[in-house]
């Protein structure tokens, strides 16, 4: 079986998880929904990533206890082969949707803000081909790409926030709890979908990440970095725009510098910044496409992950164009559905599988202990 997993270290894995979690939490959220009753995203979104990290730690702990080398094996062990396959199929579908959401967002961004005169399909082709190539190169290539770009993307984004800092005003963050505590918690739970795939994906390829111990360390590092970065980003956005403006904005980060009174030409880097974010989105999309291909290849016992990666990429590209031309709206409907219930759909079976896996293992150890005695 040619899974093209390869091997990579903690830094690569931490970068991969960090980039994917941050990218999802910043670029796949729907502003109208998130800022509807006020802006408490600087509380809810870091909380969402924290929930993702906690689920990752729980599942990884269960895998170690049950001595399973991937989340697929854990699901099979805990839920049985049938339910296990169903859960992993749902997981693969949400990965495809996550990649679609990210790529569609960036194709729209590029088309409406930069390549205004270009055909939408051309821009879609321009964006879609790179993750496809990266996914075909295999997981190790994507992970090393993430390590190369991770720190660079973080520094560039922080420089952007530093430039915009003169227009930060604390009053814009208020009222701090937005629509109230319950709504903030609800947003945290729903928003967890944005980062959950980033935490669950590495659990499918534990071997490539040098085992569960290494994955534990790199997952925590990437997760904590993502929490901090999401917090900083949401704070920066919240200090520049009030919730009234944010809910009407398609790309708040793109407009970050437009509040500055003396906007110099050197501050007009926003178009260049789109390409830095695009690099992060490409890495994340490639990661999700590859993991989908990996799951399908393992489940269907295929020989090579590459044909599946190619077809998933083509599928996403076709749907981005088809949805734009209003030929289909199925992905849009699915996207809206997973924004509301995706976290529940992903987390519930994993929590159940993790708990059953731990109990099952403990019971079998106990039974074995009795038998030995």
């Amino acid at each position: 079986m040619n899974l093209m997993e390869g091997r990579f270290g903690k830094q690569e894995n931490a970068s991969l998880i960090g980039i994917a979690a941050v990218c999802g939490s910043i670029f796949t959220i729907e502003p109208q929904h998130m800022y509807e009753g006020g802006n408490s995203a600087f509380i809810s979104m870091p909380l969402s990533v924290t929930l993702g990290l906690l689920l990752f730690l729980l599942t990884l702990g269960a895998m170690r206890t049950a001595k399973k080398d991937s989340v697929l094996a854990l699901c099979d062990y805990s839920l049985g082969k049938g339910f296990g396959t169903l859960v992993t199929a749902i997981f693969a579908l949400t990965l495809v949707l996550s990649a679609f959401m990210l790529m569609e967002r960036f194709v729209n961004l590029l088309h409406t803000l930069i390549f205004v005169e270009s055909e939408y399909a051309n821009v879609a082709f321009y964006v879609a081909i790179v993750p496809a190539v990266a996914a075909l190169m295999g997981l190790e290539s994507i992970a090393r790409l993430a390590k190369c770009f991770g720190v660079f993307i973080a520094i560039i984004m922080l420089i952007g926030f530093a430039f915009a800092s003169s227009s930060f005003e604390a009053h814009r963050l208020y009222p701090l709890l937005g629509d109230g505590v319950m709504k903030t918690l609800e947003n945290s739970a729903r928003g967890a979908f944005a980062s959950l795939p980033a935490f669950i994906a590495p659990l499918c390829v534990v071997g490539a990440a040098q085992g569960s111990k290494s994955l534990h360390v790199s997952g925590c590092a990437g997760g904590i970095a993502a929490i901090v970065f999401v917090l900083v980003t949401q704070l920066a956005v919240g200090l520049v725009f009030t919730y009234g403006e944010l809910r009407e904005m398609y790309a708040p980060l793109f407009n970050l510098n437009t509040v500055l009174i003396s906007e110099d030409y050197y501050l007009r880097y926003d178009k260049a910044m789109v390409f830095v974010w695009l690099a992060a989105a490409i890495i994340t999309s490639a990661y999700y496409i590859y993991i989908t291909a990996n799951i399908v290849t393992k489940r269907l016992r295929l020989f090579d992950a590459r044909p599946c990666a190619a077809s998933v990429s083509a599928f996403i590209a076709c749907f981005i164009i088809a949805e734009h031309q209003n030929i289909y709206s199925i992905m849009q409907t699915a996207t809206e559905f997973v924004r509301d219930y995706g976290a529940l759909i992903l987390a519930a079976p994993l929590i159940i599988a993790a708990i059953i896996g731990i109990i099952k293992k403990k019971l079998s150890e106990r039974r074995q202990g009795f038998e030995n005695a």
């Binding site: 009753g37 006020g38 409406t112 803000l113 390549f115 205004v116 005169e117 270009s118 055909e119 051309n122 321009y126 005003e169 604390a170 009053h171 208020y174 009222p175 701090l176 709890l177 937005g178 629509d179 109230g180 725009f241 009030t242 919730y243 009234g244 403006e245 009407e248 398609y250 407009n255 510098n257 437009t258 509040v259 500055l260 009174i261 003396s262 906007e263």
Partner: protein, 408 residues
């Protein structure tokens, strides 16, 4: 075999890298397809709602010289900017592009009416206008404001834009607002927008455009009986552009509520906590002492919202004596002048606050501090700040420190 593979990889790398230089070839657009609109002016129309003026950048005759470069104006009537744009596009050989638009100029009549629906967020986004484009309200017509800039001299356009900012930071005699801040003020109701106030000095320069001004104003100019509206803030000048920016236009929501002169604007800038430097002349018995002051820190605003909104504002300024015709200001500073100046400034600020309250304009932005006392949006929105603002009482106290103690 291995060598052939590495050559193949190298060739592939070269081709791929060279492709990155060809990004402009995808759906390429010739440079001369567009004409860039640098500013949009809105006047009242005769037949339709607006008379929209597009200030269009003209490239030089060659790449290396500015000859032929400048700006031209197209004015078109329409019920909306989009209507006018349609007509402007068919009457111009190039496609109008708005990505370089850096200002909106509104006539006072348009600003007093309900124009917000016509300069909406959606319009700005669809025309790809940057939200950092500045707003100017003109006492008079926007078209005349552009004409007063002497558009045949290209640098004036850019210079005037940067000069407004310089003036704002160095003198504080005008206010600055861009589309982003304007939308924020209007939509959120935490402050009312304050915008640069543009005026036209008909006596300043013998411009081609001014030749058609009515003979009465020319006569009065000759007699030295110019009214304040015809001169630069009441001061007669010769030379320079007819157009100038001084003072501020104060809004109540999206409508122009009134104007402030340059001194009140300086006070307003200090009251808002803007990082500006102002010149304050303080008249004494035996002369004038002029202070150059800047904010030492952001104003400390303590607000109480119940039962009646009230605010205690303390402002700390620091600065220097810039001009002293009395000759002994430094000696009198600690014992006499400091207290008098602080009292004088507090009184001036209270006076500006009362003016703004009469205009029902929270231009100082007390709403920003009021919003910080609420934990949830429903609580804040049900408080109804805009209605409660009319009941607000503000008490100002000012402290001034000189950079160097003049006695030492």
């Amino acid at each position: 075999m291995k060598t052939r593979k590495s050559w193949l990889a190298l060739a592939l790398a070269v081709v791929t890298l060279s492709l990155s230089l060809c990004t402009g070839c995808l759906d390429g657009t010739p440079l001369d397809r567009y004409s860039y609109v640098t500013s949009i002016g809105l006047d009242e129309g005769e037949t339709y709602k607006y008379n929209v003026t597009f200030q269009i950048q003209q490239e030089g005759l060659s790449e290396t010289s500015l000859e032929g470069a400048g700006e031209s104006l197209i004015s078109v009537e329409g019920d909306t900017i989009i209507d006018a744009l349609g007509i402007a596009n068919v009457s111009f050989p190039y496609q109008l592009d708005f990505s370089r638009t850096n200002s909106f100029v509104l006539s006072d009549k348009v600003a007093s009416a309900d124009f917000m629906g016509d300069i909406s967020d959606a319009l700005i986004a669809s025309l790809h206008i940057r939200r950092s484009a500045r707003l100017v309200v003109v006492m008079g017509k926007a078209r005349e404001y552009y004409e007063g800039l002497d558009l045949s001299v290209n640098p004036n356009i850019a210079k005037q834009q940067s000069n407004i900012i310089e003036n704002y930071y160095d003198e504080g005699m005008t206010s600055i607002s861009n589309l982003s801040l304007f939308f924020e003020g209007v939509k959120n109701g935490r402050f009312d927008p304050v915008v640069s106030l543009g005026r036209i000095d008909t006596t300043a320069a013998k411009l081609k455009q001014n030749e058609r001004t009515n003979s009465a104003s020319e006569e009065s100019a000759k007699d030295g009986r110019e009214s304040k509206d015809e001169t630069t803030a009441g001061i007669k000048r010769t030379g320079g552009t007819a157009t100038y920016v001084l003072g501020s236009a104060v809004f109540c929501g999206a409508r122009l509520a009134g104007t402030l002169n340059e001194f009140d604007t300086m006070m307003l800038n200090i009251m808002r906590g803007n990082d500006v430097t102002v010149r304050v002349p303080y008249p004494c018995e035996n002369g004038i002492v002029s202070f150059r002051l800047t904010r030492a820190e952001k104003p400390d605003v303590r607000m109480q919202l119940w039962p009646q909104p009230s605010a205690a504002v303390s402002i700390r300024l620091s600065g220097d004596i810039e001009l002293d015709t009395t000759g002994d200001a430094a000696q009198r500073w600690e014992d006499e002048l400091k207290g008098k100046l602080e009292e004088y400034l507090a009184l001036q600020m209270e006076s500006v606050f009362l003016k703004l309250k009469l205009l029902n304009s929270d231009a100082v932005g007390f709403g920003r501090y009021a919003a910080m006392q609420f934990l949830t949006v429903p609580e804040w929105e049900s408080y109804g700040w805009k209605e409660r603002y009319r009941e607000l009482e503000a008490d100002y106290s000012v402290r001034v420190e000189l950079f160097s103690n003049p006695n030492t």
